[in-house]
């Protein structure tokens, strides 16, 4: 039997990998990839906890569906924004987005 804790740990590891990516990726698209990892970590939590803690309803699963939807929406907007910046400065690197500072 796998305890819930292992799912949570899995999710935490995934969360931190995502976080690591978010903090260190220079390429905006890879940043987005990292964010997706975090969202998936959250989803694992939701689904696992739903199964273990509140199997009577499907709250966690429903929310995880929402999260997938939101992730899709966010990725679309994010990528479009990145691409529109890319169109202007031919770069998707975070350290090139530095017109606005101080």
């Amino acid at each position: 039997m796998i305890p819930l804790g292992h799912f949570v740990i899995l999710s935490a590891v995934l969360f931190c990998i995502g976080l690591f990516g978010v903090l260190t990726q220079r390429n905006a698209i890879r940043f987005l990839i990292s964010v997706e990892i975090i969202l998936n970590a959250a989803n694992i939590n939701l689904v696992a906890c739903n199964r273990y803690l509140a199997p009577a309803n499907a709250e966690g699963q429903v929310v995880s569906l929402f999260v997938i939807g939101v992730a899709a929406a966010a990725s679309v907007v994010g990528l479009i924004l990145i691409i529109s910046v890319y169109r202007q400065r031919k770069s998707v690197f975070l350290d090139d987005f530095n017109l606005l500072k101080w």
Binding site: G18, A42, N45, E59
Partner: protein, 468 residues
């Protein structure tokens, strides 16, 4: 009848309005008309709000809490969005494309804001915040030919994506702790002693990070200046007033129903955050040459003052929300006046000598700035006064002192703008032309700033109902 959608009829009206605008925009209806549609949708929504009466508890599966706080906040949000729309009407847009969609976004964002303000479920909170965020990213990058605007959009997105992701993760942890996302249930569990120790702290801090991002509290404020500076003026106003207010509203919704979890947070950390927020905001605003960027940092500092009141716990909520109400008027007024006076160039030099070329608007701008600075007898002073009042009452003299010292520093950069408008010789001539909507908006804001100074009970009485 607790599942009837009439509880969100105001939001339905808005969504309907949004669709109409989208359709109309597709058929090339001009901006002004669309703006009026948006305005009427908003006003209709305001008039639909009373249909949720009488106030009760959770409705719609616990997604919406039909309480006085939510009611008031929805009204507040709708009013501020009306101001944003008015501002967008009067603002001389440097580019005139996709304006139909602009109002569509604004209305959808308003729906999200409204739902968030009366959310009873963490999932609803997340969805609404994320929706608001996504729309805000788009709005911030709305001038897609403008390097600054797109950069603002993408920066906002990059920062916001992490913030909302963190919040989501926090929410899932809460779900993991209590097996439910219903805030009333969670609150009851915690109040019943089911405090999950450090795990709940982690979850709470993560959720707070997402909200603090909206409210622009240190260290989640870093995006503010860059985004405001790059975003179109009305968007910056929207972000600084409505979106920021949502952060505080949700902080209250989530953290104040069960203060025990965050007791150490509110006791020790929140005051520090508040002090840091106001100090860093003020300090960074100190030397800005761009009025827009200065106002951005000023809004960070203002958030610090608001949060200072909140940091004092339940007793500070009245002060905090009085501040938010006043802040809405003065900050909106300041952004609007600044935008009207110099629509494109936000550099301080562009404001030089405006005191003579646009005397009325420059004067009103000064009023807003001084109110933001906290000059008696304007409402901004009373707002700060109540914050300090609460702090002193709570014997938190350090916080009171910090607010007071910061307000001194604040005066400097606000006055710098006033100085530029009145002391300095005028810059290259451009006479700002301001439409009646502009005067209506700014006049309304001035009315608010003055009225709330003379008759603050108007708001205080309502707040008393909310936070008893």
């Amino acid at each position: 009848m607790t599942n009837s959608f009439h509880f969100v009829s105001a939001e339905l009206v808005l969504a309907l309005g949004a669709f109409v605008i989208l359709m109309a925009a597709v058929f090339g209806m001009e901006r002004r008309t669309l703006a009026f549609v948006a305005l009427s949708a908003l006003i209709l929504a305001i008039f639909r709000l009373p249909s949720t009466l009488p106030l009760g508890q959770s409705v719609l599966g616990g997604m919406v809490v039909n309480d006085i706080f939510g009611y008031g906040m929805r009204l507040f949000i709708l009013l501020t969005v009306v101001m944003v729309v008015l501002m967008s009407m009067a603002y001389a847009w440097p580019q005139d494309e996709d304006m139909g969609e602009f109002y569509f976004f604004i209305l959808i964002a308003t729906v999200a804001l409204d739902l968030a303000a009366c959310a009873g479920n963490l999932a609803m909170v997340y969805l609404a915040v994320e929706t608001l965020s996504i729309i805000s990213y788009v709005l911030a990058g709305y001038f897609k030919k403008d390097l600054y605007s797109t950069e603002a959009g993408v920066k906002y997105f990059l920062f916001g994506a992490l913030a909302t992701a963190l919040m989501l993760y926090g929410i899932t942890l809460v779900y993991g702790l209590y097996g439910t996302l219903d805030m009333a249930h969670i609150g009851a569990r915690i109040a019943g002693g089911d405090v999950q120790g450090p795990a709940l702290v982690v979850a709470a801090v993560l959720i707070m990070a997402g909200l603090a991002f909206k409210a622009s509290l240190v260290p989640f404020h870093m995006w503010v200046a860059d985004v405001y500076e790059g975003a179109p003026w009305p968007v910056a106003a929207f972000l600084s007033v409505t979106s920021k207010a949502l952060g505080f509203i949700l902080l209250v919704r989530i953290f104040f129903s069960n203060a025990v979890v965050m007791a150490p947070f509110w006791g020790c950390v929140a005051p520090v955050i508040a002090i840091l927020t106001m100090t860093i905001g003020n300090m960074a605003a100190f030397h800005q040459n761009s009025v827009k960027r200065m106002l951005a940092f000023s809004s960070v500092a203002q958030a610090g003052y608001i949060f200072a009141a909140m940091a004092l716990g339940q007793v500070g909520l009245t002060a905090a929300f009085f501040y938010i109400a006043v802040y809405a008027f003065m900050n909106m007024g300041a952004f609007a006046a600044a935008a009207f006076l110099s629509p494109v160039n936000a550099q301080l030099e562009a404001y030089r000598g405006l005191g003579r070329r646009a005397p009325v608007m420059a004067f009103l701008f000064s009023v807003f700035l001084l109110s933001l600075a906290g000059l008696p007898p304007l409402a901004g002073f009373l707002a700060k006064f109540f914050v300090i009042w609460t702090a002193v009452e709570a014997r938190d003299y350090i916080l009171a002192g910090a607010v007071v010292l910061n307000s001194v520093i604040g005066f400097f950069y606000y006055l710098k703008v006033i100085k530029a408008m009145y002391f300095d010789e005028q810059a290259a001539v451009h006479d700002p032309r301001i439409s009646w909507q502009g005067y209506l908006l700014v006049g309304g804001c001035v009315w608010g700033v003055v009225f709330l100074a003379i008759h603050p009970q108007a708001v205080l009485d309502i707040l008393a109902l909310m936070f008893v």
